[in-house]
């Protein structure tokens, strides 16, 4: 999600909150729900549980979003992460939530994409969240800070460090494969 997409998401929700425009909300929902579902699947949530969490996240989102329209996408992900943590705690065995999506994508997918997902999947969960929110979902550092409760400066520094860490691990893997 680029800056333009982020601004568009905000405009759609302003339209929805001020005028009750359902088409505007439908468009926002179509933009975000699929990506949110895939985010949850990669975060280790089973397929059916991911649909349930998407439903619950949007239900809560719709109740609070009009109170503060500054960073709606960040708000949606904050709600989702909280719900996912709660669901994880409720199911102590975590059997429902451990059956997440594998790093495998389509069979004809470039190997480097699969390798990158595998590298990211090795990181601690909080660091995966940072990388995905910044470089896949496209949130700004400030929005991620709001979503995760960390200082914006820490988010900025940590995302840069994580990129470098990924690159180094990729290099090590390449050397390993070469020997």
């Amino acid at each position: 999600m680029s800056q333009r997409e982020s601004a568009e998401a905000r405009q759609l929700l302003e339209h929805y909150c001020r005028e009750g425009s359902q088409p505007a909300f439908d468009r926002f929902y179509r933009q975000q729900s699929g990506r949110l579902w895939r985010f949850l699947r990669f975060r280790g949530v089973a397929e059916d549980a991911a649909y349930d969490l998407v439903a619950e996240a949007f239900l809560r989102f719709i109740q609070v979003v009009c109170k503060d329209l500054r960073a709606p996408v960040a708000l949606l992900y904050r709600i989702t992460l909280n719900l996912r943590t709660d669901a994880w705690r409720r199911s102590q065995t975590a059997s429902d939530y451990a059956a997440g999506m594998s790093v495998q994508g389509h069979h004809d997918e470039p190997a480097e994409q699969i390798h990158l997902r595998r590298l990211i999947g090795r990181l601690p969960e909080s660091e995966q969240n940072l990388l995905l929110m910044r470089y896949w979902i496209g949130l700004t550092h400030r929005e991620i800070a709001e979503a995760t409760g960390q200082p914006a400066g820490t988010v900025r520094r940590r995302t840069a460090e994580l990129l470098e860490q990924l690159r180094q691990e990729w290099e090590q893997d390449s050397e390993h494969d070469g020997t």
């Binding site: 929805y16 909150c17 001020r18 005028e19 009750g20 359902q22 909300f25 439908d26 929902y29 729900s33 699929g34 579902w37 895939r38 699947r41 990669f42 991911a50 649909y51 998407v54 439903a55 949007f58 239900l59 719709i62 009009c66 999506m101 994508g105 389509h106 997918e109 190997a111 480097e112 994409q113 699969i114 390798h115 990158l116 997902r117 990211i120 990388l131 995905l132 910044r134 470089y135 896949w136 496209g138 990129l163 470098e164 990924l166 690159r167 180094q168 990729w170 290099e171 893997d173 390449s174 494969d177």
Partner: protein, 120 residues
């Protein structure tokens, strides 16, 4: 497979995760249908609320101004009212030479304190 530059990694991450299998659109559509429909209530409900506040402020302000005016002018009018009723203020009993006529003035004041109907 060589490692990409740090500058290329963000684009690769985006592509790698966009390539993940997506959800069933019908199921997502069904979730959307179940979400509550919001009415355009925020602005319409807040405007009368603001108007009420403004009305209350205007009423409070005008009440304060009226009370202030009444206190200011009412206290000035009080001695005049007493004179209209034929009552004299204590200063009126003081003679021009500065001495009060105590004997006759006290009788007269006694009479004047009694209700008017008896004086007639």
């Amino acid at each position: 497979m060589t490692a990409p530059d740090s500058a290329d990694l963000p684009g690769l991450i985006r592509n790698a995760f966009d390539a993940l299998p997506g959800p069933d659109e019908e199921r997502l559509g069904a979730i959307r249908q179940r979400l509550p429909v919001r009415q355009p209530q925020r602005l319409t409900s807040r405007q009368p609320h603001r108007l009420k506040w403004i009305l209350w402020l205007v009423l409070l302000g005008s009440g304060t101004v009226t009370a202030g005016w009444w206190l200011g002018t009412g206290s000035q009018q009080a001695p005049e009212k007493m004179n209209h009723l034929g009552q004299s203020s204590p200063e009126a009993n003081v003679q021009s030479d500065g001495k009060a006529d105590t004997s006759s003035a006290s009788d007269e004041n006694e009479r004047r304190r009694s209700p008017i109907i008896y004086q007639r």
